[in-house]
């Protein structure tokens, strides 16, 4: 096996067999899924104790309307409010007093309780009474079938956005969905470039402070050592992304099956939605959930996935080589901060540029930031889901890959000198001098 292969293998195996890596890789998707499903699950759990609410209704009109629900039981009562106040009934949770016709006197209903009344209870009470008042009110107009007429005239409106495909085919599109997809991929690129770039740096610093580097460079070229490390750690990153992707999809599918029933989205509507997205015939009657699926299906995930890998590799290689050069020129991890700051600012700028590009994915900020190699891997991921011309994507890739090869070449020169320099913290000026060393 070639030396660089050996180094890649060691870096990779050493890292993926670490307990911390395995735990993080398995735990992260679980946490993501838990973040979505646990609140859903918790909200679906009903309190087990049944609370009793007494209704003192002097009109006699409203009390029969209240129906018992899971954890509230409504009782019609003949006692007066005073009696309840003087001899509190421990069984009772609250008392609803209605003293007058609520159509003419809306303030005639009051809910008494010794505790803070939960929103759920006041909502039930409000809904029940409101429905009756509405009916009463409508009845005062003396128009037959008025209720049905109003029901008929209620509409909800949301403009449909349709994207013309290159073959003229119409597709439902949504800027919101494209933005969300874009920002997710952008965050992933940003996070991994920073995380794994820093990992390359600390690994270089570690080899240097361990003093193993002197031994290493007596058997391998410094360039092989640096590239082996960058590539090995890059594979670790790709492994983690892949694992997270697979695990998340699997867990969400499993979670989705469990909740499909309770959330009222059955698989048939989803499939119908998918088909409708292609044909666009039945889009109007589509359910909201199915529509979301239709919109997601207009996003070309195969293309995004491909460019994600391309830009991830380019961005990672570019920043990792810079991080490696920094790591090589300092003696210990504490000294990295002065060099880290500009890099971090650059990355954070790229992230913000990406977020603002969402508003106007074809604007000048978005365009230029997706061409400049330092920001392109991050900004481009925002723009791709919106669909941009092929030449822009290719130009950006060529610029990025050209610059990362340049960055590696320069970094290798600094690295080669830096790893054997001990004692003092170099300045940028000195690092530039190193470039000229033979």
């Amino acid at each position: 096996m070639s030396k660089i292969g050996l180094i890649i293998k060691r870096e990779y195996l050493h890292r993926v067999s670490k307990k911390s890596f395995i735990i993080l890789t398995l735990l992260m998707p679980l946490m993501m899924v838990a973040l979505v499903f646990v609140p859903l699950w918790l909200s679906s759990i009903k309190g087990s104790d049944v609370r009793q609410i007494a209704i003192i209704d002097t009109t006699g009109k409203y009390a029969p309307l209240f129906e018992d629900v899971d954890n509230y039981r409504f009782i019609q009562s003949d006692k007066s409010l005073e009696e309840y106040r003087n001899s509190p009934d421990k069984e009772l949770y609250a008392i609803l007093q209605i003293t007058d016709d609520l159509l003419t006197n809306p303030r005639a209903a009051t809910l008494y309780s010794e505790k803070q009344v939960p929103n759920e209870l006041s909502r039930i009470v409000n809904q029940t009474i409101r429905a009756q008042i509405e009916d009463d009110k409508l009845a005062t107009f003396n128009i037959p079938n008025l209720k049905e007429i109003i029901q008929e005239s209620k509409v909800s409106f949301n403009v449909q956005t349709i994207k013309w495909g290159e073959d003229g085919k119409e597709q439902i599109s949504s800027a919101a969905v494209a933005s969300v997809v874009g920002i997710i991929f952008t965050m992933i690129v940003y996070m991994f470039v920073l995380m794994y770039g820093a990992m390359v740096m600390s690994s270089v610093v570690e080899e240097k402070t361990n003093r193993i580097v002197e031994l290493m460079v007596s058997s391998v070229r410094p360039f092989d050592l640096m590239m082996g490390k960058i590539i090995g750690i890059g594979f670790v990153g790709l492994t983690q992304i892949l694992m997270w992707g697979i695990l998340s999809v699997a867990l969400f599918t499993i979670g989705g099956f469990f909740y499909a029933g309770s959330l009222g989205t059955d698989m048939a509507t989803l499939q119908q939605g998918m088909q409708a997205a292609q044909g666009m015939g039945a889009a109007a009657e589509m359910q909201p959930g199915a529509e979301l699926f239709a919109m997601l299906s207009t996003i070309n995930f195969r293309e995004i996935g491909l460019f994600f890998v391309i830009f991830f590799i380019g961005g990672y290689m570019m920043y990792a080589s810079i991080f490696a050069a920094i790591g090589s020129s300092v003696d210990n991890a504490d000294d990295t901060s002065q060099f880290m700051a500009p890099i971090t600012i650059l990355l954070v700028f790229a992230l913000y540029a990406g977020i603002y590009s969402m508003e106007n994915p074809d604007g000048p900020l978005a365009f230029w930031c997706s061409m400049i190699p330092f920001t392109s891997p991050i900004v481009m991921m925002v723009r791709i889901p919106f669909g941009i011309p092929l030449w822009e994507k290719l130009l950006s890739v060529v610029l990025l890959y050209g610059s990362f090869i340049g960055a590696i070449w320069l970094s290798a020169k600094i690295y080669r000198v830096g790893i054997l320099m001990y004692g003092k913290k170099p300045s940028f000026k000195e690092m530039i001098k190193w470039l000229k060393f033979k």
Binding site: L6, R211, I212, V213, L215, L420
Partner: protein, 305 residues
């Protein structure tokens, strides 16, 4: 025949010249001492021999021809600053480093097992390096240096960090390696060990070779023609070519230090003295490498400044 030769090597760093026309010649199968004070340029020269850095000018000849990149497989290097991967298991790590020196997995493993047995550290094969004592880490490092059985071995301060017992084991191993035909470059400050094991030396001071040659030859060159004698009685008839430096008496034995002119031989001196005196001991004061080191370095420093 010289196994390794550096000719007229110059290495310039930004503000100072680390090596100024340095030439050394290392004979095959011998132990060559590379001496010099800190910062003299020894490590830079070793790095050039190891092809870690390139010289600005000058050539290194390896085994009779110009040094080539693949020659590094023929070199085993024990750097002064030791270090291995702390978090990696010892055996795994040793195999990895041996593979980087060009051994196959199977060969590396088999040879390592043998060495681990020899040094009695087999139980630590599956331990992380950081769990080992410093002495054991040094042993592991030594094994890694010699595992690919290179023709040329470079030891930079090999005894630092070893306790006397382990230093003795190491010295034995180094001499065994010499017996087996390896050429060894040995860089150290410990002059006692130089006298003991080195055949040839080169002394580098301020980027230049200030002294080189065979160890006994060098010592011969620096001899002062001073002698220490123990006599039964006080010295009476003194030859004209001598003068006494000091004399003291204890328990009836006279200890005399004297200086003789170089043109007269030791035998002449002994026979002249033996005529009237009972000689108990006769020792020519040959300077130690330590004395020579200090003398040469301070002389060359005072010349330059």
């Amino acid at each position: 025949m010289y196994f390794l030769e550096a000719k007229d090597v110059v290495k310039q760093f930004a503000n100072h010249r680390a090596l100024n026309h340095v030439s050394i010649r290392v004979p095959e199968g011998k132990i060559f001492g590379l001496l010099g004070p800190n910062g003299a340029g020894k490590t830079t020269l070793i790095r050039i021999i190891n092809r870690i850095t390139a010289p600005d000018s000058g050539v290194v000849y390896f085994n009779g021809r110009e040094s080539r990149p693949e020659d590094i497989y023929q070199i085993g290097y024990l750097p002064e600053e030791r270090g291995l991967y702390k978090k990696m298991k010892v055996g795994e790590q040793a195999i990895y480093l041996a593979q980087l020196k060009g051994l196959s997995y199977m060969v590396a493993r088999e040879r390592l097992m043998r060495w681990f047995d020899k040094f009695d550290i087999m139980p630590w094969w599956n331990k992380k390096l950081e769990e080992l004592s410093k002495g054991m880490q040094q042993k592991v490092q030594f094994i890694i240096t010699v595992i690919h059985e290179p023709a040329l071995l470079i030891f930079d301060e090999p005894f630092s960090g070893f306790d006397p017992i382990n230093a003795e084991i190491l010295k034995k191993e180094i001499l065994e390696l010499k017996q087996a035909g390896h050429t060894i470059i040995f860089s150290t400050h410990n002059m006692a060990s130089v006298e003991e094991i080195c055949d040839e030396i080169a002394l580098i001071n301020r980027s230049e070779v200030v002294l080189s040659g065979n160890v006994s030859e060098v010592r011969e060159r620096f001899k002062t023609n001073n002698y220490t004698l123990h006599l039964r009685n006080s010295l009476t008839d003194m030859p004209a070519y001598c003068h006494i430096l000091s004399e003291k008496e204890r328990d009836g034995i006279h200890e005399i230090r004297l200086h003789k002119e170089e043109t007269f031989t030791n035998s002449a001196l002994i026979s002249d003295l033996a005529k009237q005196n009972e000689i108990l001991s006769f020792v020519e004061e040959i300077p130690s490498m330590n004395d020579i080191f200090i003398k040469v370095v301070s002389d060359s420093n005072s010349q330059q400044s």
